[in-house]
Symmetry: C3
């Protein structure tokens, strides 16, 4: 359940409207009768919001939840407001982008939690003499910061994180508990890195060992990792260091949980990648791409800007044109699948038979 | 190798039979000649069990291992006992569910390890003044428990775990080392959470940023996570917090390692999910489902109760009927695959050609 | 960016050539005119190497980068040297395996970082009285070592690792921060285990609970994990303990990040497995196999030696012959995929129609 602000801390509906207008998104109360001084303690979905919460309608499929919602106020598009077949007992806020308005307000409410994060340097943190940690950075319990690491002002490093030698964390970035940065990892400003993420582990590089037939010689990974500004990295995601050059994540990239980014990958600005995606070594992904969950990309590929890859798709060759690409085997009831799958292994033969018939 | 109890600590075969009978499963020695006072130091598989160990036959394919097993005693179904073509030199315990009997006994032997877990609160644990930790809870080294978290009696929190503000861990739950609970995560009683699991990280929610074209605005995730009783969560599995409402895992759910549960997913009671499965946002899975390893489920789907999904299958639409569903591309020798895969991209054309021939 | 050695610490080109020759790989300067006393501060790729760096040409596709490289010296095969159409301004080192030579030199340069790792036992480490830790092992901050664990000489255990009761880490192994070993995990000598890896968590074993219909009874996992010598294990990879017998990883195996190895799996010597692969319980993989990223293997299979499995392939039956195996659904532009995928579910019918036409 979302935490509600206490009534004496909570904003009025008009205050929230002002916050959104100041962020550059237009919105206003639908009519003078609606109450600008309504106290809003939190946000809720249409079906769960209580009498002191603000909700919104973004997905038209949920419009039938409007009549039964318990919300104090609802954000609606003008057309959805006009289409209402009943007299609402909630206040109506008009906005042509209800989902974006909700995003801005969720940030606004979440700031209370962020402001309550522990401040200062915890006395159990182990900070190397040669590390440069801003006095305005916040270092949690059992954090380890190694030699010559740099931590800028406003950074929050929560419990149990390890910051390797020579790494750098830009201003106002937030590391949740138990993040590991190896040595030589550069993180920009205002990044969010979730628990269990590992940045800068060795890329997977081996060569046949000249000293022992059949064995592998490790290729020490002596490149680094560079993360831009405003990047978010999900829980237990791993981003390997480069073999010689760096692995690079550009500004504004959003990575979900359990993503694997191999050595020397480049990900262009504002690309968003859903959970469980694997990206093999040296692949370059353009800007503003969207990659669905559990997709995989082979190594040494180039994906241009503005490509969408569907969830579960294996990308095994470069993509030179923007657009959506898909390759998912359709699921079926098991026995039907068995019957059809048996034909797959003979598709070439089937085509030859058709060709013979055509002659 | 399984650890064996010292002979003076080890039970007799009859004691183990009594344990199983008390748990409601019938079993007994096959004949009076078998030795009820046999000392059983541990459990072993048919091919590895030693002269003080108890083994079992569950999979009929392994029946030919009976003749050579070194086990002191073996659990057999009556029919398998009668089918023996030789005079066994091991004691025979008859039970019509040997695998379940083995499960009960493995729990019994493992209790010694569980009883040996460190007790009390380690002096390196950092526990916030406002947290409520039962004096009968056990808190390991370098654990961090944040403000207003609640830890009930009999809970074990092993080294390096971080329990976020306002989270709650129900009685007798066991957290292995290095688990993270973010703020506001509710865990029921008797749960087991394995190392590296992360509960309550932000769901992956972004909207186009009205303040910067092409960029993403974060949708702060202000819902929580609710985990029922008797849930097991595997190593490095991640369960994200809800956007507005909670992500919910019902009683008795079993999740293997490296599973990704996105925001606002619901998983029904007693559903078991194998490793590496990804479940996208807002999907609801019913009760008593079984999901094979590396399957993926798209977002906003509904899967009814009693569905089995085969390993590696991508579920991209809701499932309204119980049963087994599969969608795995059959593997082949590489060159054969290349030939057949080339036809896939022209299947529509092939069908049109067949249609033309039929005319 | 790779870190460069200071000029007064850096080797001469001839020194590096000697290192490689001593490792059993032949190489020499291309002609007397080239400068054996050239100071080499580091390694770089052809397009990024600076005037004090050594580079190499392994992939012939990159040969056109030779003319513009800024490298001080380049490792070339004799034939690539002879094919040069210009007079190089870099020194040329001839070697018939440039990639292997680079691997040996990357190790050589990386030794400086490894020698700089913190030594001794950090005073925040919690080491049980009954653990046997070599005085020549190095134990980082906030490490926990439980009862009767054994840590041999030259081992490095970095910050926040947890070593379970009775586990054993062989000489000169390196554990990066935040690795968990449960109880009874055996790790060989000279292993490298990356951050977030979890070894020895419970395998996923449950039986129908005789005490509660529909519920699962846990099968306590009382086997262990045995890892050979010279094994590398990637970040956030999980290797579960065996149910009764051990999970076994043989000598020289290389595992990338986010791999899942289930209970009772065996992996043969020198097999290399790329990231995001899942291996279900009791599957045996032979020696010298190569498994591509995001492949999955069902349980209870046998894969012989010298098998290559392509990335993204689901292996659902045993493989009895060496060779390469593939099963990836080809991706296409989304609309094309939709059209073709619709035929997949009717392939059996299509084949019947062809058969009817043939009659």
């Amino acid at each position: 359940m979302p935490i509600l602000l206490a009534p004496n801390q909570a904003p009025s509906l008009q205050q929230l409207i002002d916050v959104v207008n100041q962020a550059g998104l237009e919105c206003q109360l639908a009519d003078a009768g609606s109450e600008p001084s309504l106290i809003i303690q939190g946000l809720g979905s249409l079906h769960s919001a209580g009498a002191s919460e603000l909700s919104f309608l973004s997905n038209p499929k949920l419009a039938d939840q409007l009549e039964s919602t318990g919300a104090a106020a609802v954000i609606l598009r003008a057309e959805d407001y006009e289409a209402l077949s009943f007299q609402p007992d909630f206040a109506v806020v008009l906005c042509n982008q209800p989902y974006v308005m909700y995003a801005l307000l969720a940030q606004w409410f979440d700031q209370y939690r962020l402001q309550a994060l522990a401040t200062g340097w915890h006395n159990t943190a182990i900070i190397h003499d040669t590390a440069k940690v801003s006095p305005q950075a916040h270092i949690g319990p059992h954090v380890v910061i190694e030699a010559e690491a740099v931590v800028d002002e406003g950074v929050h490093i929560m419990a149990g994180c390890v910051i390797g030698a020579g790494s750098h964390i830009g201003a106002h970035s937030l590391l949740y508990p138990r993040v590991t940065l190896y040595h030589g990892v550069q993180v920009g400003a205002r990044c969010i890195i979730h628990s269990g993420a590992v940045l800068g582990a060795d890329g997977f590089g081996f060569a046949p060992d000249p000293r022992q037939s059949g064995a592998w010689a490790k290729i020490s990974q002596i490149g680094g990792v560079r993360i831009g500004n405003d990047v978010e990295i999900g829980a237990n995601t791993t981003i390997d260091r480069g073999a010689l050059d760096d692995t690079i994540i550009a500004d504004g990239v959003k990575l979900d949980n359990q993503i694997m980014v191999a050595h020397n990958v480049h990900i262009g600005a504002h690309t968003a990648i859903a959970a469980c995606v694997g990206i093999a070594g040296s692949t370059h992904i353009g800007s503003r791409c969207i990659v669905g969950g559990a997709a995989m990309l082979s190594g040494h590929l180039t994906i241009v800007d503005d490509v969408q890859i569907s969830g579960g798709t294996a990308i095994t060759s470069s993509i030179h044109e923007p657009g959506q690409y898909t390759g998912v085997y359709p699921y079926q009831a098991h026995q039907q699948w068995q019957r059809n799958a048996a034909v797959i292994s003979q598709l070439g033969a089937l085509r030859r038979r058709v060709r013979a018939l055509e002659r």
